[in-house]
Symmetry: C2
Subunit: 108 residues, 2 copies
DNA sequence: TTCATATTTCCAATTATATGGAAATATTAA
DNA sequence: TTAATATTTCCATATAATTGGAAATATGAA
């Protein structure tokens, strides 16, 4: 996980419509969801949806497959775990974490 | 975890400087880090840092404590786990996940 | 072909975010 | 007090993201 990669994920999820879209794909799982369904469910214009889906795709948060006339979007759930690991990387400089109680209100 | 809460976290982390600041606080753990140190380490102007620290604070990603003339910033590492749980909430509609291989390239 | 459905692209207007110098404020030591 | 250090606020400028209507493109059915 690189810094740039993580930023694109966070930027993608830091927007209400996109967060809703992503969470919807998670709820669908491998059944997936089409743009048409998303427009129905979330009530957003198709131009707006298309823009946001592309952002999610660029962040690699969703995977897309064409199936006849429809596109099917599915979540890249694995990425969520990798992101959370990235954020906690080298926690406490690699040493065992010192509980807050021992230091935060006492002497350091 | 509410939608708004999650968005503020993602918005906070979707910016290079803030992501670097947050990861630095994680690496420090409960020892914490002061704005002065952050300015030194990341090489950003203090006005810029102050702005970003406030964003991280508003997102509840960092906790702050005054210690004499210094402020000490520490990560709210717990929030990282809650965010990741939120993203995967009600995965596959609550039913056991169907592996991709069974559906994505076959008939649905 | 022709037609209907599904989705994307274009584009211009709006709104939001980031930057950093300079000045202001806060805290403590001497 | 006065001086030194630490941090924040102000503010104007610059940059980037969001929106959605209308038109264009893609796909497959009849």
């Amino acid at each position: 996980m690189k810094n740039k990669e993580a930023i694109s994920v966070f930027l993608a999820l830091g927007q209400e419509t996109r967060l809703n879209i992503f969470r919807l794909t998670v709820q669908r799982g491998n059944i997936g969801v089409t743009p048409g369904e998303i427009v129905e469910i979330l009530g957003i214009p198709n131009a707006t949806l298309s823009f946001h889906l592309k952002e999610l795709q660029h962040a690699d948060l969703v995977l897309v497959e064409r199936r006849s006339r429809n596109l099917i979007y599915r979540p890249n759930a694995d990425l969520v775990k990798r992101i959370s690991d990235f954020l906690l990387e080298n926690c406490c400089g690699g040493k065992p974490c010192i509980p807050v109680a021992q230091t935060s209100k006492g002497k350091i």
